[in-house]
């Protein structure tokens, strides 16, 4: 049986203008899950429920073996949390924050914290209010990482960063993550960030989980077939076609369950296959969301 760090079962949360519906989610220990969705899709609500900050109306949430929200204090001893809307105390220095966190977490790793200070190029004596947004994100990451959490929850940590700062934060984060095996839940609307870091991907849209799989499976099973269709030839009926673009003579099929045998099937139907293109995670996400909204994918 797989050891799970996070498990959502039928979780529902209703607000006046938004509903998170029947979320089922499993995050195996040691894996890095990218949680992708547009603005208002339900990423932050899901993470707040995961952290015990919002109580679900229905369903069960278990984090590191603790039922949430009732056992949130125990669960949070082993969780490092950084969110885009999280701020540190402006008048205090980073050194003060480090001492504050050290006093709460016995597993605080002072040597590791010093290493992160160097890698993130942060000065402990500097007050938080004097830091740039990128530096504040790095400071929050340092405070989360040096407590050596079993589960790291990152809610859009790169949002609002300029491209250079985003690249720096992501690069440092990847280097840090390469250090050892951690379980990470990483939400973002930036698929490029998620693609770089994650080994599992979950898409959420309008409060519903619309797809969830290993990243490699995602990237392998989604393809674009560019065909040339002679007159009086019809498109072959293939499983998993979610979108048909291009023209009637030069159709482009987007397929969610690609199999190399499909190329032969197209050729047998009289079509010539010009190209089989891989898709980026962003393309997959967009097509997935569009087709779900249009009802093309059940």
């Amino acid at each position: 049986m797989t050891d799970l760090s996070v498990q959502f079962t039928g979780v529902t949360k209703t607000y006046p203008h938004f509903t998170l519906s029947d979320v089922d989610l499993k995050l195996p220990t040691g894996s890095i899950m990218g949680f992708v969705g547009a603005n208002g899709a339900g990423k932050s609500t899901t993470i707040r429920i995961l952290m015990g900050l919002v109580h679900q109306d229905r369903g069960a949430v278990e984090v590191l073996g603790h039922a949430m929200p009732s056992q949130q204090a125990a669960a949070k001893r082993d969780i490092g949390f950084v969110s885009e809307d999280m701020r540190l105390y402006g008048p205090a220095t980073l050194a003060w924050h480090m001492e504050f966190i050290r006093s709460i977490y016995p597993q605080w790793d002072a040597l590791y914290a010093q290493d992160l200070l160097r890698r993130f190029d942060l000065k402990p004596a500097q007050k938080i209010k004097g830091l740039s947004h990128g530096q504040r994100v790095k400071a929050a990451l340092l405070l989360a990482l040096a407590r050596r959490p079993r589960l790291l929850v990152l809610d859009e940590p790169t949002t609002g960063l300029d491209p250079v700062a985003r690249c720096e934060v992501l690069g440092e984060l990847m280097a840090v993550l390469a250090d050892e095996e951690r379980t990470i839940f990483f939400s973002s609307q930036n698929t490029l960030d998620v693609e770089q870091i994650s080994d599992q991907i979950t898409f959420i849209d309008r409060g519903r989980i619309i797809d969830s799989a290993d990243k490699e499976i995602f990237l392998d099973r989604w393809r674009r077939l560019r065909l040339v269709l002679p007159p009086d030839t019809t498109l072959p009926r293939l499983p998993g076609i979610v979108q048909v673009g291009g023209s009637s003579r030069l159709p482009v099929l987007t397929i969610s369950r690609f199999d190399p045998a499909m190329v032969a099937a197209c050729q047998e139907a009289g079509a010539s296959v010009q190209a089989v293109d891989s898709m980026t995670l962003e393309e997959i996400f967009i097509v997935n969301v569009q087709s779900r909204r249009e009802g093309a994918i059940a």
């Binding site: 707040r48 125990a74 701020r87 402006g90 003060w96």
Partner: protein, 225 residues
Amino acid sequence: MNISIVARLIWKDWYLNRGLFVGSILLGLLTLGAVATAKGAFLPLILGVIVLATILIGMGAVLMSSMVNERRQQTLPFVMSLPISYLEYTVSKLAGSLFIFFVLWLALLLGMIVTILLTPWFPHGLIPFVIIMSVEILVTTCLIAAVSVTTESQGWTIGVTQVGGLALNAVGFSIVRLPGIRDSISGSAVHWTSTATVLLLAEFAVIALMLGTAFFVQSRKRDFV
């Protein structure tokens, strides 16, 4: 209840407000010094009372609205990422803010009593009234705390602070007209009447009721960030 983390959070609030606290103490002591050396002159006395009341109500409002500020300044997700429940957070906020305020309040109250006792210009019969009005400021501060914690609204907190400040004048005028207070206020000795005792007990009962209500409301909340 994780007392250790609650204590850490109280220490954090103390650290973040220490400058304001020390400044308030110094300003309060300077004001008392000015009142004590004014030889009972009316204007310095009135100004001194206004400054002391402003220090206490202002500092009370700043401390008690720290929960609203924590949400507004977006430091709440950082605190709530720590291994605490929301009830523990509420305890730390209320207990911490009230403790810091209480130290300031007690220092200034003792300063006022010492000033009355050591200077020849003020009748000692004033002391019960000073204590009752100081506790009334404590009531106002607890009201601000309860509203701030339960509504988490800056608008409501500011509104209650203003109403509380104005109500203090009305309460003061009403109390000073009560026979049990009025008849002994100018006396040369401290005379603790049953009216004064009832007023104090009523004030403490109101404080207990407000804080109890705040905890009750907090324990029923489901969404915190």
